[in-house]
């Protein structure tokens, strides 16, 4: 069990009121999570006490900043069980990580008539970069479909793999809309048999599940700090060292070079080859505090808590007449995300109504319009949970849904 009351004390924002006197109930964690005081302090401590650029200067501040920045990399190596720090590239977020792969690996390795496979439940960030790449190269983009239970139709993957033209399979480890936990190991096993590269969008999974890259055996892996208690503007691309070594730089500039001459430049070692310019030092340092926080709780406990609260919420919400739920009903197969529609209330109207009761949920297409088309809806409402959410909060949320029904005379 996690001590939720102690955890809540670490999140100053949870004390604030919204709409004058309503306690804030924050159920939009799949979009971004709140930040504990430890993360906020780590960032302000850097600016207050050792703000400096990293890597190059020899003064004391620079040394402290460099050590703090680089120690985040070491923590991430352990957190996801990577082999080495050279494989951890700091980027702005998952979106930039995927674009980096599309640009720096895709343009060298994907050719005319090749196939890139993704899935119908991807976020736009794992669709649009591949559309750009396949259009440029005359290659094809194919989709693994989603069944009515919100799970992937893996037979379709086999069909694509049999063509022998697939260069990359890119999928999300957890759907940001349905909460479906992808059977990643099975997909990767099938791809490896055919020598196909795999990219895992882990934006929704790393914050909520224990991840072990040595077990997973993928080739590229991307996630964002802000969905796991850390600041915005920082994310990680992990990739196999041998792939990173062959890839061209994504951005050119300072820090990514070994020597620059008038017409020729040689590249810095990994991971710096992919980190041009002054990075987001403060927020990388803040990210370390977020990882420390999660490790103190333990990712197994995080998952346990989320399963419990998700099951509680699913039980309650499914009793509401007129509710339509999306995604697997078995909490072993889904993360702490519940997408739904209630009668003919449009999600934006629903979100407006329950916001008045202090409940922050997301409404809309969740950057997953391909999935919305598959589900044949224009939008859904989405409640998503994290370590600081309680069953009492779920009760307020459910009560608020009944109020919305009343307002819409349902």
């Amino acid at each position: 069990m996690i001590h939720i009351e102690n955890i809540r004390k670490d999140f100053p924002i949870l004390k604030r009121k919204v709409h004058k006197d309503k306690a804030l109930i924050y159920f939009d964690n799949a979009a971004t999570t709140q930040k504990p005081i430890q993360v906020i302090d780590a960032i302000s401590n850097y600016y207050l006490n050792y703000n400096s650029n990293i890597h190059r200067a020899v003064h004391e501040l620079a040394e402290e900043a460099t050590i703090a920045y680089e120690s985040t990399r070491d923590k991430i190596v352990k957190f996801i069980n990577a082999k080495s720090r050279e494989e951890i590239i700091f980027v702005r977020g998952t979106t930039e990580a995927i674009n980096l792969v599309a640009y720096a690996w895709g343009r060298q390795n994907v050719n005319k008539d090749d196939i890139i496979v993704t899935t119908e439940y991807e976020h736009h960030s794992n669709i649009v970069p591949w559309q750009l790449l396949t259009k440029e190269k005359g290659a094809k983009l194919e989709y693994i479909g989603v069944d009515d239970n919100g799970e992937l139709l893996l037979d379709q993957l086999d069909k694509y793999l049999e063509t022998g033209r697939v260069k990359l399979v890119a999928f999300s480890q957890m759907s940001n809309v349905l909460g479906t936990i992808t059977d990643s190991e099975e997909i990767i096993r099938r791809c490896k048999k055919k020598g196909v590269r795999v990219l895992v969008d882990a934006a929704q999974s790393v914050p909520h599940l224990k991840v072990d890259l040595q077990k997973l055996d993928c080739d590229f892996f991307a996630f964002s700090a802000h969905k796991m208690l850390g600041p915005t503007g920082v994310g990680v691309l992990w990739a196999r060292k041998e792939l990173l070594e062959c890839m061209v730089p994504f951005n050119g500039g300072g820090d990514m070079i070994r020597e620059v001459h008038k017409y020729e430049t040689s590249w810095n070692d990994l991971p710096y080859k992919f980190e041009a310019g002054t990075p987001n030092i403060a927020d990388v340092i803040g990210f370390a505090a977020a990882i420390d926080y999660l490790e103190r709780i333990g990712m197994d406990k995080v998952r346990e808590h989320e399963m419990e609260i998700t099951k509680y919420a699913l039980d309650k919400i499914s009793q509401i007449k007129g509710i339509k739920l999306y995604g697997p009903m078995n909490v072993a197969k889904r993360g702490g995300v519940i997408s739904f529609n209630l009668g003919d209330i449009h999600p934006h109207d629903l979100a407006t109504i329950i916001d008045e009761d202090g409940v922050a949920i997301r409404s809309g297409h969740h950057c997953a319009q391909v999935l919305m088309e598959r589900l044949d809806v224009s939008a859904t409402s989405r409640a998503s949970f994290y370590i600081y959410n309680t069953k009492d909060e779920v009760d307020v949320f459910i009560k608020s849904l009944y109020r919305a029904k009343e307002l819409f005379r349902l």
Partner: protein, 146 residues
Amino acid sequence: MSSADIYREIILDYYRNPRNYGKLPNPDIAQRDSNPLCGDELEMHLNIKESKVVDVKFTGKGCAISQASASMLTELIMGKNFEEVKKLSKEDILDNLGLHDLGPARIKCALLSLKVLKSGLYSYLLEKLKDTASADKIKEEASGLY
């Protein structure tokens, strides 16, 4: 404003039983737009005779505010001439809906229909009046729309 004030009987009625919902077979003006933030979609069809709106229909997907707003707007402009339609302001639309003090996110829902109507009308006028002396004036008016 509170939800109880927004979702009054009349808004829900227009949402569930939209007047002038549908498409025209040969519209003089057909204009479509969407709100990228929330995905609301709206398409308006108009028939024009002697600079007057003689028929108007809309189709769309979206929240109660955006759909009721579109439906009420179609009723408002039926039979009106170009000058009257051009003069319609944001305030007119909100008055017509009885919605004031909407937040910045929701006001876009209420005003999507006016945006579609005006951009459709100005495209039509620009096409009609191209190569004439009035074209520049229309262009100027259209550029100041939003």
